[in-house]
Every structure is written in C-alpha cells, then in structure tokens.
Symmetry: C2
Subunit: 226 residues, 2 copies
C-alpha cells in the first residue's frame, strides 16, 4: 500500500515544491483565481520547470489549480456553489468513513484518538477560541477517523484530494467563530459512537457535524457579502 503523498516527508524537489505552493495557495499568498506563470514560479523557487510541472500536476489533483492545455494553470476561485458541492461530498464520504471506522478501528487506535481529543481540550482551554484548533485540530480529528476507515480509495480522496481545498475555504474565509467549543463536543460524541461500534450513529453525527460546519462558513460568506 502506497503511503499518502501528504504524509511522507519530501524526498524530491517536486515534493518540496508541492508543499510550499500548497501552503502558499491555501494561505492566499498566491491569490485565488490568479494565473500561474511557470517561468515566474520556477525563478521564485529556484528550480527548473520540470519538477515545477510535476508539482502543478499534483496541485491539480487536489483541486487547488485548474489547467487547460496550451493555456496554463490558474488558482481555483472560491464560490458558494463550490463550497456546497464540496461539503455535500464530505458529508457523504466522511459519514461513510465513520461507519467503516466503527467497524475497522482497533481499540488502541480509538484510545489514541481519545487522547488526541483530550489534548485538544486542554489546548482549547489555554487559548480558548483560538483559530489554531479550528484549523488544524478539527481537521486532525477528521483525518484520524478517515484513516480508521481503512479504505484506501476513501482515504486518498478525502486526505489527499479534498483536504487542502477544505483548508483553503476555512483559512481564506477566516473561520474563527464561536463554533470551536461546539465542534469539540460534536467530535466527542462521534468518537463515543465509534467506540461503541455504533456505525450508524457515528455516520449520522458526522453528517450533522459537517452540515453545521458548512452552515457556519455559508454564514461567514453572506456576512462578507453584505
């Protein structure tokens, strides 16, 4: 089984490029919707175009850029329609992941996940309402559950192909509302269901959790619009 591209440490130049450009796009350092100039990026990162193009191919794979033949690449634009499509998928896929995780995670993995949540709780109390938790911690929990499904295709789609786009929406729309503590409780409920081997319940709770998260971002979007 091949390891996830995002987890393995960068061994090659294009690996390093991928991580750097990924971060730059997610953080908005390279603005959404902007054209990508291969010569410019090659100069900026001090590499030839060969590894750069390899990295661009992988960026396309995680939906951060769009390429047209003989025209070039462009950073994706964020939209309400895109957000809805994305979260629609996440609801379905992460729901499935929960059902599978309840069946396939062993007791040790569940224990480790419990400990992770406890760590989140303390972190959250120390710097309550901090966006760090929302950005990394939340996704970390989801990450673990997805890995627990043991379905390699599901893992690949969620962790490699959609993960960064989700982060991009969150970062660029400034997710830092009061949903943090609520999200934590929801995580705990989901994990309980998994620990009880109640896949159906975990599925349902995860769908609600993601649905609530989507609502939250939609609100943020409309708030910005007015």
């Amino acid at each position: 089984m091949v390891q996830s591209p995002v987890l393995r440490s960068p061994v090659t130049a294009s690996d390093r490029l991928l991580l750097e450009i990924q971060r730059a796009i997610v953080e908005g350092d390279i603005p959404a919707g902007s054209k990508i100039s291969e010569p410019e990026l090659a100069r900026r990162f001090q590499v030839s175009r060969a590894p750069l193009r390899e990295a661009l191919a992988r960026l396309e794979r995680c939906h951060l850029i769009e390429r047209l033949p003989n025209v070039g690449a462009r950073v994706v634009t964020l939209s309400v329609a895109g957000l809805l499509s994305l979260y629609q998928l996440r609801e379905e896929l992460e729901g499935l992941a929960c059902r599978l995780a309840a069946a396939h995670m062993d007791d040790q993995e569940i224990d480790e996940l419990k400990q992770l949540l406890e760590k989140h709780l303390s972190t959250q109390r120390v710097r309550d309402g901090e966006s760090y938790y929302q950005e990394e911690g939340d996704l970390d929990f989801h990450y673990r559950v997805i890995l627990g499904s043991k379905n390699s295709y599901l893992i690949n789609i969620l962790c490699d192909e959609l993960y960064f786009l989700v982060r991009m929406y969150r970062v660029q729309l400034g997710m830092n509302g009061p949903r943090v503590s609520r999200a934590f409780d929801e995580h705990k409920a989901i994990l309980n269901a998994i620990a009880n081997r109640d896949g159906e319940l975990a599925d349902l709770l995860m769908r609600r959790h993601i649905s609530a998260s989507r609502h939250n971002i939609e609100l943020q979007l409309k708030q910005m619009g007015t």
Copy 2:
C-alpha cells in the same frame, strides 16, 4: 468549469499517451502488477520521457498505477480487498449522484437518457448477452447519471478517477454473465425514479444495483480461485 480530461479529444502528446496507456492497462495489454519502464514505454510510443511522465502522473491519479519516488511506477494489482473498497465507495457516491440527479437533471436530459436506454435495449436484443453492453453501455448509463448530479467534484472522482479502475476489474475478470438483462431492468427502474424526482428511491436502487454488480464480480473471482 474545466472539462473532463477523459472527454476532451487529445490535443497534446501526453493526452494521446494517456488514452493509449490507459487502454493498454485496462485491457491487460500491460499486465496488472508489472513494472513500468519509462525508457521502454518512451521507445514504444515514440515520444520523449517528458510527456510520458505527464501521462504517468495522470494514470496515478486514476489509480491505474502506483509510483514511489526514485523507484518508479507499477501497474496496480487487482484484489478482492481492492474490489470491495472500490465498490463500497461507488455505492455511496453513485447513490449520492442519483439523489442529486433527481433534483438537478432537466427534463431534456432525462428524455435523452431514456432514449439511450432504448438504444441499449435494441443493441442488447440484436446481440444478446454480448459483453459490449456490459462494458460500455452500463458504464455509459452510470456516466450520464453522474453528470446529471451537476456536482463537479463528484463527477471528477467518479468519471475521471475511479471509472477506469472499475473497467479494469470488469474487463480483466471477464464480466459476461447473465446479469446483462437484469442490469438493464435495474437501470430502467433507477431512471424512472429520477424522472419521478424521487431521489431517495433512485439512491436506494442504485446502491442495490452496484451491490448486485459487486456480488457478481466477487462470484467470478471466487469461481476463478477454485
């Protein structure tokens, strides 16, 4: 909205390569599990390694090959576990696609799909039990429904990333049983549900349809094993 890589006619050398190698792998012309030699393929298709590597990157994207840094690419191996994972996902995703299609397909699209089924029926009657229907026609129906969902991420995952692997399993395990006519009836029932705007029912029927198809292939696999 960027057009599907598999639909657009090949404009560049790597496009052409992708199609040719895709076919070769799906049909077993390049055997499952075999190592991919870049120099060899480059000679075989009369191109340099640059477009070849571009094509390989896209082949990895649709799960037909697996690459390791500094080691190279290898055609995927087919396994029961892989098949189950794949069909698990399809059930979920194509179920969702049906629900969305019932909501988003317009009357004209539904009419066209009805005509497609009629065409399948006549084709099936003429050369009944032919594998052509099973290979192309069935996937064609699924294809249309997926496109009808209007969810670009869902379309991308199913039509670009999983489609060819599904075909590979079917072709290499020789799907040509008596399921053909039954599958046709199931398609008709699904389409009816969509036409009636009954997304829930379409979802349920599609899940059953795929589940039955999975059972069929599993049977074939076990039959080969004994």
